[in-house]
């Protein structure tokens, strides 16, 4: 007993971080992701200029005339578009993930905690949204209510939350039966406290993983909508760059390949981080 007296307190999160650090792929993913975020934040400052300015002859191939990624069909600097696009795509990804997680946690938590008719109603609602074909539904939303970034974000959030809700509910159902929850109830913790201070923090790991992956899929989702032309032409998201250069794919394939690779690397990095988080936050794996 006494040998533990001087132990340093190690929070579960510290341990998770330690686990994460051991996962080389996840660390690589995190480094890439941080680099992309840095580009998104700092890039427009350092690489100034309006990305929509036409700076050189259209379809200048990558590498010529000092334009790393070349220029697009209007002679706009693809690098500049990519840098600004990083900001837009990441923002859409994060915002959509935020919407998704907020709705998902609320619905899942209420359903998993209260059970009974509340659960019945909320889970039916969840199943209902799960039945809706996501992309089709958001295409309709965007087409009907306008292709602004806000609407796209809302549309993605609206169709993506059921996964989070299901995970949250499952975790709540599992955790609410654990004895420390009963103990907290016996200790006079109110329902709100039980839900958000006792159960939710313990339910978070898989939700965090899901949220991380959500950012990636929201970026992909936005790209898909853009590809179909359902996008705001005044902002340069990566998907938008692909969508507008789509018709030049055969000849100037780099205009599509480069933003495609940007999306690919970002989503891949997010997935690797998500995987790392999953392993790090999963106590079962930690014991192995």
């Amino acid at each position: 007993m006494s040998e533990q007296t001087h132990l340093k307190a190690r929070s579960p999160f510290a341990e998770a971080f330690e686990m994460f650090r051991r996962n080389h792929a996840a660390v690589a993913g995190l480094v890439i992701l941080l680099a992309i975020v840095a580009v998104a934040i700092l890039g427009p400052v350092l690489y100034s200029g309006n990305p929509f300015d036409m700076v050189w002859a259209p379809f200048t191939p990558p590498g010529t005339e000092g334009y790393l990624f070349g220029t697009d069909y209007l002679g706009r600097d693809l690098l500049s578009l990519l840098i600004h696009g990083a900001r837009v795509s990441l923002t859409v990804g994060l915002a959509a993930a935020f919407v998704t997680v907020t709705i998902g946690i609320t619905i899942g938590a209420l359903a998993g905690f209260y059970r009974g008719w509340v659960e019945e109603v909320l889970m039916r609602l969840t199943e209902f949204f799960q039945v809706l074909p996501t992309l089709l539904f958001s295409m309709v939303i965007v087409a009907l209510f306008g292709a602004s970034l806000l609407m796209i974000t809302i549309a993605i959030g609206l169709v993506s939350w059921p996964a989070v809700a299901r995970i949250t509910r499952a975790e709540f159902l599992r955790i609410r039966e654990l004895e420390y929850v009963t103990a907290a109830r016996a200790g006079g913790v109110r329902n709100g406290g039980l839900m958000f201070r006792v159960i939710l923090p313990n339910a978070l790991p898989p939700i965090i993983v899901q949220a991380a992956l959500m950012v990636g899929s929201a970026i992909l989702f936005e790209a898909g909508l853009s590809f179909l032309g359902l996008t705001d032409p005044n902002v340069a998201s990566w998907g938008q760059i692909i969508g507008s250069n789509r018709q030049y794919i055969l000849d100037a394939s780099y205009t599509v390949t480069v933003p495609g690779i940007a999306i690919f690397i970002t989503v891949l990095a997010i997935s690797l981080v998500g995987d790392g988080l999953n392993d790090a936050l999963n106590p079962k794996l930690r014991e192995r």
Partner: protein, 526 residues
């Protein structure tokens, strides 16, 4: 039509000729299946009640028209073996070929011609085509006389397959609404060189040889398969790997250029003169804002580098179009102000109009729309160009056609890029844009610019009735001069429509109606 690609091709052809590999025009061969494309699924296959090229292409094979045209705008006999104007220009007599039958074996009579004209007049969106036809008289089975309320020089051109298919009265005259008639898309019975086999949406239209076609020995092909492929790159790949024989109405310039460099393929812009597609920037001249002032419109035109559009966006594959009449038309008058890039002049005009630059360098703000996704580059280019003269432009997103059409036709816009077709004669496709009588809320491709000029109205009224070609050309000259000054619309270029065909294809459709002309002469070599 001296453009780079063609020149290149011409040289290749010339070399080939020197080497003696192409001896003479080959004799047509019978048989074979032509695989060609449609860029969209047609709503149905009956051009009598549906405009547009995707209906027109198979429609021209299924239905014969009274006349057909060669590449020089000269009418040729088709279902009508001869035709004649009355001296006063108020009646047109058509003499039909003897023994022509519909695909179900029923004879084609003047009754059917009369029925077709009535149906088109009542249902086709181009009201000016047959608007002046009061009655069609049918003295005998092979004579139809169109009686007009006023002379109508455009009538002859309207008698081609795209605009005046002869449809069977015994099928479409059954009282059902011709626009939603079930036989428009399935089990179609027509009068043309090919018979209906199959129409599967998003997949293909299949037609087969009409053995009883009224021109002996034709058509040459056994079958035509129109594959519906919406993606331009996919069509290009299909052409390059030999899956497709021919594709028409291509306008993605990079792909055209690419295909033209393929030894097996020929790319040409011949064949689109009657279609007459023009890209333009339309202004809402009726708005309260700066655009009501023609100096502002002129300034905008000066600020936009047309050469960039022609050479960088269109890669030199389209022609400059200085007026609303297609350069391929004999009525085109090129000696008007083309508004070549002149930023100083643009700034001066704007200052003169009273729109000084503000402290932030901005004079005023406008929005810009675009009528289809292909004009997005132009819209974006306009935004960038006008920023240089202090006009702040927001590009509105294009989501769907009806939304855009609804917005524009209700005059709820500042500027929009658009693509509009001449459809052969100015009366059909040009007048609608400038006629002050045609300012109609809710109707797209009417005079949505809300442009009104009495002289223009007068000129159109006269030219619409003038049968003498020279006098008519003079009227349109003045028409084009005034418009170029008033600039309700800034015309920039023709669409770079191209037909790409495999060298195996003989007699590709290079007349003025491109793929909307009958393919009875088309054949596959070897």
């Amino acid at each position: 039509m001296k453009i780079a690609v063609l020149r290149h091709l011409a040289i290749v052809a010339g070399v080939a000729a020197l080497l003696g590999t192409t001896a003479k025009a080959e004799d047509p061969v019978r048989g074979g299946t032509l695989i060609t494309t449609l860029p969209q699924t047609p709503r149905h296959l009956n051009p009598a009640v549906q405009s547009g090229i995707v209906t027109g292409a198979p429609g021209a094979q299924l239905f014969a028209a009274p006349l057909r045209y060669d590449e020089d705008w000269t009418p040729q006999p088709y279902l009508a073996e001869s035709w004649a104007w009355s001296d006063d220009g108020l009646s047109m007599t058509l003499n039909l070929v003897q023994g022509a039958t519909f695909h179900d074996g029923d004879p084609i009579t003047s009754e059917d011609v009369a029925f077709s004209v009535e149906t088109i007049k009542a249902n086709h969106p181009f009201k000016t085509m047959f608007g002046v036809v009061e009655t069609v008289e049918t003295p005998d089975d092979h004579t139809a006389i169109l009686k007009l309320s006023q002379p109508h020089p455009a009538l002859l051109l309207a008698m081609s397959s795209q605009l005046m298919p002869i449809i069977p009265k015994h099928i479409y005259g059954d009282g059902q609404d011709p626009k939603s008639h079930p036989r428009n898309g399935q089990d179609v019975v027509g009068s043309g060189p090919f018979k209906f086999v199959e129409f599967t949406a998003d997949q293909q239209v299949i037609l087969e040889r009409n053995d009883d076609f009224f021109i002996e020995g034709r058509p040459y092909l056994d079958r035509i398969v129109y594959r519906i492929i919406k993606d331009a790159s996919a069509r290009a790949i299909g052409m390059e790997n030999g899956e497709l024989h021919m594709t028409t109405f291509e306008n993605t310039v990079r792909n055209i250029k690419r295909m033209s460099e393929n030894d097996d393929l020929v790319a040409t812009d011949e064949g689109y003169a009657a279609i007459g597609p023009i890209n333009w920037l339309a202004f809402n001249t009726g708005s309260d804002g700066p655009l009501a002032d023609k100096r502002v419109r002129q300034a905008i035109a000066y600020a936009i580098d047309k050469n960039f559009i022609l050479n960088a966006i269109m890669l030199g594959l389209s022609q400059e179009s200085k007026t609303g009449i297609h350069p391929g038309s004999p009525l085109y008058y090129p000696d008007v102000n083309g508004y070549d890039l002149d930023i100083d002049k643009a700034n001066a005009l704007l200052d003169e109009a009273g729109y000084e630059k503000g402290a932030d360098g901005i004079r005023f703000s406008l929005t810009i729309d675009h009528g289809n996704p292909t004009t997005k580059p132009q819209a974006e280019f306009t935004k960038a160009s006008l920023a240089k003269v202090g006009i702040d432009v927001t590009v509105n997103s294009f989501v769907d056609f009806p939304t855009w059409a609804n917005k524009i036709s209700n005059h709820d816009f500042d500027m929009t890029w658009d693509t509009v077709f001449n459809w052969g004669d100015p009366v059909i496709g040009v007048h609608r844009t400038y006629d002050s009588q045609n300012i109609k809320e809710g109707v797209i491709w009417s005079n949505t610019q809300q442009y009104a000029n009495n002289r223009i109205d007068e000129l159109m009224a006269q030219a619409g009735q003038e049968i003498d070609p020279d006098k008519r050309a003079a009227l349109y000259k003045e028409f084009q001069e005034i418009l170029a000054e008033d600039l309700p619309v800034y015309w920039t270029n023709t669409l770079p429509y191209h037909t790409i065909y495999n060298k195996k294809v003989g007699n590709p459709p290079l007349g003025i109606w491109s793929s909307s002309s009958p393919y009875d002469l088309v054949f596959l070599k070897e």
